[in-house]
Symmetry: C2
Subunit: 168 residues, 2 copies
């Protein structure tokens, strides 16, 4: 990025907005023609550099995200290596792995959402059922069927919920 | 991307490589000056569009990768919800989650590597120990201490191994 900024300055200097200062129209025409062709070449180069950079950045973002999740796989293996021990120990180990996975998703920008009792919000909730229960406030989340991750533009998926039936 | 290609064609048409066909030098100068300024403006716009597109693509690649791993978290929760049942059932469930995680990493382009007996390869292996054992071929992988994922440019991490000692 830094390099690109410097390139930009260099290009601006060589093809800057000042018209050629000469009284000879033919020479001025040549000079301007040359600048214009260089600007067109710059456009072509920018496009090519852009396409390459996009590919590279996509790959490196994918690697960064996937690498963040490797500890989950490692710790699942660790938990399984204790499969012969006390089942309580296994369950504790798996709970820790699960909490770790949720924490990693949070650090990647995708917070877990699983709140009940909050008002139904179509931008965050996906209704998978309606409950007719006097103990549930109408139009609020009765039960979370599947947690959601992220919000607004960073939403990986909405919270799947059942909602209290609105009274007639 | 499609839209950008069309823009490129449109720009090429408006600022194409043919010099203005006129005998009037002053008019030609004006025309060329105009084309050149438009090319400079195109460069500026390309840069801005590029920066925005990079941000957008990074975010969407991160979301795609993280979303691919949500089923792991879901299935960990499912396994934990059976914590009161037969420990054998829990262990089977966790094994399935682990296999799923490895399969997802493979689909993202990061294959698991944990082979023993293969020749030591510094591009794929990280030596964490040397074993002096007549049953282990010198210079080959004796034991995998931690599996690796991906290879060459897509390597998330090398395979951590112990290697058979080279005989004097």
């Amino acid at each position: 990025m830094q390099q690109e900024q410097q390139d930009a300055t260099a290009e601006a200097a060589s093809t800057g907005p000042e018209p050629p200062a000469t009284d000879d129209h033919a020479a001025a025409l040549d000079e301007l023609q040359d600048r214009w062709r260089r600007a067109l070449a710059d456009i072509e180069n920018l496009r090519k550099r852009h396409a390459k950079e996009l590919d590279r950045e996509r790959a490196s973002e994918r690697a960064r995200t996937a690498a963040a999740l490797l500890p989950i796989v490692d710790n699942l293996e660790l938990a399984l290596s204790h499969a012969d021990s006390d089942p309580g120990v296994i369950v504790e180990g798996i709970k820790a792995v699960h909490d770790q996975a949720v924490a990693i998703l949070g650090r990647l920008g995708y917070e877990r959402h699983a709140e009940t009792g909050v008002p139904f919000d179509p931008s965050r909730h996906e209704v998978v059922g309606v409950v007719d229960d006097p103990d549930v406030e109408p139009g609020t989340v009765a039960k979370v069927m599947r947690p959601g991750y992220g919000e607004a533009e960073r939403q990986l998926r909405p919270v799947a919920v059942t909602v209290g039936k609105r009274q007639e």
